[in-house]
């Protein structure tokens, strides 16, 4: 039986296998991860809320189920970090915002319920940029999480807490949400697999909305297969979400077990490369292209001319929707209330609460969106952005006639330093340059590690994009890249992460 430390480095698939075989109990697995969190999270700060009692209770239930001879699901007993944007009846849900500090929802998100039903052990709620707005977790009202590769750098965002937890071996699985790249970008800079499923593939019910037409829940994991197992566990139609697709879930687990790209047409997107991209990122990206070609894939270059307008269109559509979605945080029914001294009017309390409760980036986007939707500007901003969105969908459609999947770097650079871009919103927004088109078009997209940048030794992500509901293709290609690189390297990439080495015996200095 593996010892505690060894339990935390196992993949989700292996962990579930050991639990199902009775070689280790789910409670032991949960305890090992809770211990790891206790030791490392003072440095990583991946979690906003750790829930040992409910985690151990869930683990115990899995062990009892097994003891009773009942069949276990493929992820039963596997621990997970849940982004604090999903409602949970037994844990607070804050979205990284002061305005929701301590809010205990009266209902579980559909995704939360599916995880529980699958026997997944939710360790706690992970940190995030406030209301998922950001690419570094620096916009969290509760402080940033740290990148386990280098505690002085960001873990990406907005799902940076889940990514940091998985990269720090605090959990083998994490749930994120991807509105403009918030799963794929943290996955890339933490050396993980992160997937934005097809929009509507996994339910948004109970996901506190940032931008409704873009928000997509998805998996973060250390291997392609683990990501696939989690992808399947959370997917499928939900009658409580009108935008949820009523279609069979793509066979992603089977695809992850079949890493074969021979004959597959792979398109390299011209517009997502070149100037502005770090040379180390491009080096690893081009190697990945060569690798895929060597595996028998047919590489072509495809142009998606309107991708250049994706970022500006996104920064009109997402803020517009957010300005409306976040209107409900008004101190009337739940969450923070400021200025209610008995004499202030409801309007004054609303205003004081929102002033005090929202951070700078959230306010910036609410104002952007309010402006973009206002009378007289709607057509020029929101309306025009929607037209661009249509053009991007057409670019994808044309590209997918020439190629089965498209590829690009996931991010223009590797992980940046904490504070480096905090005062420069435009620089921060550029982190999502390559990921945003798939959010606007709703198609499936994955980031899979493709090595470390030579200059800084930090992970680089390869982005794979597939048509709507062809999520399985991501896993076929991702698994192929992963298999070859792991084999060449002789070990998983993440074992090279050294950010916690000095911290492990020295709790309290590093990472502060």
């Amino acid at each position: 039986m593996p010892a505690g430390n060894e339990l935390t480095i196992l993949t989700a698939a292996r962990t579930a296998g050991l639990i199902a075989a009775g070689e280790v109990s789910a409670v032991e697995v949960a305890k090992a991860h809770l211990d790891r969190i206790a030791v490392t999270d003072v440095h990583v700060r991946a979690f906003l809320h750790v829930a040992p009692d409910s985690a151990l209770a869930a683990a115990r239930a899995v062990d009892e189920q097994r003891a009773a001879g009942q069949p276990l699901g493929p992820l039963a007993g596997v621990p997970l970090a849940l982004k604090d944007v999903f409602t949970t009846v037994d844990m607070p849900t804050t979205c990284g915002s002061k305005i929701l500090a301590g809010w205990q929802p009266p209902y579980d998100a559909t995704l939360t319920g599916r995880l529980r039903a699958a026997g997944v052990v939710i360790l706690g709620k992970s940190n995030m940029d406030e209301f998922a707005m950001g690419s570094s977790t620096e916009n969290s009202a509760f402080g940033p999480s740290r990148n386990p590769w280098d505690l002085g750098r960001v873990p990406g965002g907005s799902s940076g807490g889940s990514a940091a937890a998985v990269a720090a071996y605090q959990a083998p699985l994490g749930i994120g949400t991807d509105t403009g790249g918030s799963i794929r970008q943290p996955a890339a800079v933490c050396g993980l697999v992160g997937v934005k499923p097809t929009y509507g593939g996994s339910s948004r019910y109970g996901l506190v909305a940032f931008a409704s037409s873009l928000d997509t829940p998805g998996p973060l994991a250390r291997t392609v297969l683990d990501a696939a197992l989690l992808h399947e566990a959370i997917s499928g139609h939900d009658p409580l979400d009108s935008t949820s697709l009523d279609a069979p879930v793509p066979r992603v687990v089977a695809a992850a077990r079949n890493p074969d790209v021979a004959g597959l047409r792979i398109g390299v997107v011209t517009e997502l490369s070149g100037e502005g991209y770090a040379s180390g990122v491009l080096t690893r990206f081009h190697e990945a292209v060569e690798l895929l070609e060597s595996l028998g894939a047919k590489i072509t270059e495809v142009s998606c001319p309107h991708f250049d307008y994706a970022l500006p269109a996104y920064y009109l559509i997402a803020p517009s929707e957010c300005s409306s979605n976040l209107a409900r945080f008004d101190a009337m029914r739940y969450g923070l209330r400021v200025g209610d001294d008995g004499s202030a009017s409801a309007e004054e309390v609303m205003s004081l609460t929102r002033e005090a409760g929202f951070g700078a980036e959230v306010k910036r986007r609410i104002m952007l969106g309010t402006y973009a939707l206002s009378s007289g500007y709607y057509d020029a901003y929101y309306g025009k952005a929607q037209q661009v969105r249509t053009l991007i969908i057409r670019d994808f459609a044309a590209a997918f006639e020439q190629a089965d999947v498209l590829i690009s770097p996931t991010t223009p650079t590797t992980a940046f330093g904490i504070g480096e871009r905090a005062d420069d919103p435009m620089a921060m927004y550029l982190a999502d340059l390559c990921t945003i088109p798939s959010n606007l078009a709703g198609n499936a997209s994955m980031s899979v590690p493709c090595g470390l940048a030579p200059q800084d030794g930090l992970p680089v992500g390869l982005q794979i994009m597939a048509p709507v509901l062809a999520d399985d293709r991501l896993y076929r290609v991702g698994a192929a890249v992963e298999a070859v690189l792991d084999q060449r390297r002789g070990h998983p990439l993440l074992t090279q992460a050294r950010g916690l080495d000095s911290a492990a015996g020295d709790t309290g200095e590093a990472g502060r």
Binding site: G206, T243, R328, Y334, S375
Partner: protein
């Protein structure tokens, strides 16, 4: 406030009759109707009236973070039903939109509504004013969710400003609400207030006939905003309109239009300009006071609701709904008028008395239209008036009225007895037959009893009998009266008369 508006404030009202000789009003009416679906618009909560505050709520209608709306198909069906009954085109594809504004009784601080893509557009409703028909154009019929209900405690006005605190009941939040918007209605002149009232009445009756709402204005399930503008007669352009809210009864609809015409005429006469604004109608004074002005009006920042998918009613579904429409009130009135042989004015009197349905049901239960109409418009109307009740609230069923008619027809009751039977029924003594039996009210048909009474009357009045024998048949009346008295009014007068004539050897003809 501008100087013109100040001048307007000081202006005196112009009496209605005078105002409409110099100014031409244009009206428009927006009607909100709470649909009677079992569940709310976007969740499964029940749509109950008068339950414990905040008991019929869930994460969705409370707008809790993370919750999402799912369209109630029945609400779409009801809206299409209304649209078809109002002769509208039904959109083959449309979307919901968010209307953004902050208010404590709005759980999400946006209302899911429809903006530039309503479900139903461009229809009409005919309104009868006496023997004149006014065709009111319908601009649109769209679907939205209702807000919660605020109760402002303390303060003088019962409105949010000046209140000590406010309570919010979210039971109403998310109840499906249909908005029916008319096109501007010009050219009605002095009839404008009456047309406004008649339109809302006709719409209410239509909605009731469709079974889509309980249309109770006093409970707020049907609410009106009335737009009014006036312009000098013959002017090329319409005047600036005001929107009057808080119009909560049919009578108020009429009074609100009337009052606004009088007020606006005063403003224009004084050289002022009418301010485009929302005004509040006051039942007690019959006047309107200013609310929010257009200058401070909100920018609702409408945009398509991203949490919902577009609505695309299948043509086959719309055809099925159209085929299932019940007979509409106007068609029904025309049919009944023809069947009953009534004049337009007779029919109007029946409708205005609120007796149409009662008469129709009484006829359906077997009475003749003439009898049924007479009973409801005279005897029953009088009793309802005396008791201060609506006709329909009288403690007699249409079947019972029909039975009384039948007893009169068969000669078992005369009119006087029938009224006594009605008294008994209204007093709760049972069915007409039970009252007849208990009170012994049947007409005397026993010939031996009658014959004896007639003989007694002849014997007691020999001089009258002699006149009859001499051919003065008219004198029989005195003997009929005597017999009726002797039988306690329970004899049939015509039979008595024939019997007297026969005994006296006179021919009844």
């Amino acid at each position: 406030m501008s100087s013109a508006a100040t001048a307007a404030g000081a202006a005196v009202q112009v009496p209605f009759d005078e105002a409409v000789t110099r100014y031409e009003p244009v009206i428009g009416i927006e009607t909100h109707v709470e649909l009677g679906t079992a569940a709310k618009m976007f969740c499964g909560c029940p749509t109950l009236f008068g339950t414990e505050p905040n008991s019929a709520v869930c994460p969705v209608c409370l707008g809790l973070p993370g919750s999402l709306p799912v369209i109630n198909k029945a609400a779409i069906e009801y809206t299409i039903t209304i649209g078809l009954a109002l002769n509208c085109s039904i959109a083959s594809w449309c979307r919901f939109a968010r209307k953004n504004y902050f208010y404590p009784d709005m759980p999400k601080n946006y209302q899911i509504s429809q903006y530039d893509e309503p479900l139903c557009t461009d229809g009409w409703l005919d309104v009868e004013i006496g023997d004149q028909v006014v065709r009111v154009g319908i601009e649109r019929v769209h679907l939205e969710e209702d807000t919660g209900k605020s109760l402002h405690v303390g303060g003088a006005t019962g409105r949010i400003h000046g209140a000590d605190y406010s309570l919010v009941d979210y039971n109403r939040a998310g109840i499906p609400l249909v908005e029916v918007v008319t096109k501007p209605i010009p050219g009605t002149g002095a009839l404008a207030p009456v047309v406004a009232r008649a339109y809302v009445t006709e719409l209410r009756d239509l909605l009731r006939a469709l079974g889509v709402s309980d249309v109770r204005m006093e409970q707020g399930s049907l609410r009106c905003d009335v737009n009014t503008s006036i312009a000098p007669g013959g002017a090329a352009q319409w005047g600036t309109r005001t929107e009057t809210k808080n119009v909560n009864s049919l009578r108020s609809v009429e009074r609100a239009v009337r009052s606004e015409i009088e007020r606006q005429a005063g403003v224009l006469d004084a050289g002022g300009r009418v301010v485009q604004e929302t005004r509040h109608f006051h039942e007690d004074t019959g006047r309107t006071t200013p609310g929010r002005s257009k200058e401070e009006a909100q920018d609702y920042r409408y945009f398509p609701e991203p949490d919902l998918v577009p609505v695309a009613p299948a043509p086959e579904w719309v055809r099925r709904i159209a085929a299932g429409l019940p007979e509409l009130p106007a068609a029904r009135r025309a049919r009944l008028r023809a069947e009953w042989g009534l004049s337009v004015l007779d029919m109007t009197a029946l409708v205005n008395a609120g007796a149409l349905d009662l008469v129709a049901e009484t006829v359906a239960a077997g009475a003749s239209p003439e009898q049924a109409r007479n009973w409801w418009l005279t005897e029953l109307s009088r009793r309802a008036n005396e008791a201060g009740l609506e006709l329909g609230a009288l403690a007699v069923s249409t079947e019972q009225v029909a039975r009384i008619c039948a007893l009169v027809d068969s000669g078992e009751l005369n009119n006087k007895l029938a009224r006594q039977v009605l008294d008994g029924v209204l007093a709760g003594e049972g069915s007409p037959d039970e009252v007849v039996a208990a009170r012994g009210l049947a007409v005397v048909t026993d010939s031996a009893v009658l014959a004896a009474a007639v003989d007694d009357a002849i014997a007691a009045n020999p001089d009258v009998a002699a006149k009859i024998r001499d051919g003065k048949i008219a004198a029989a009346g005195a003997l009929v009266g005597a017999v009726m008295r002797a039988t306690g009014g329970q004899a049939d007068a015509a039979s008595v008369r024939e019997l007297i004539l026969a005994r006296c050897g006179a021919d009844s003809r």
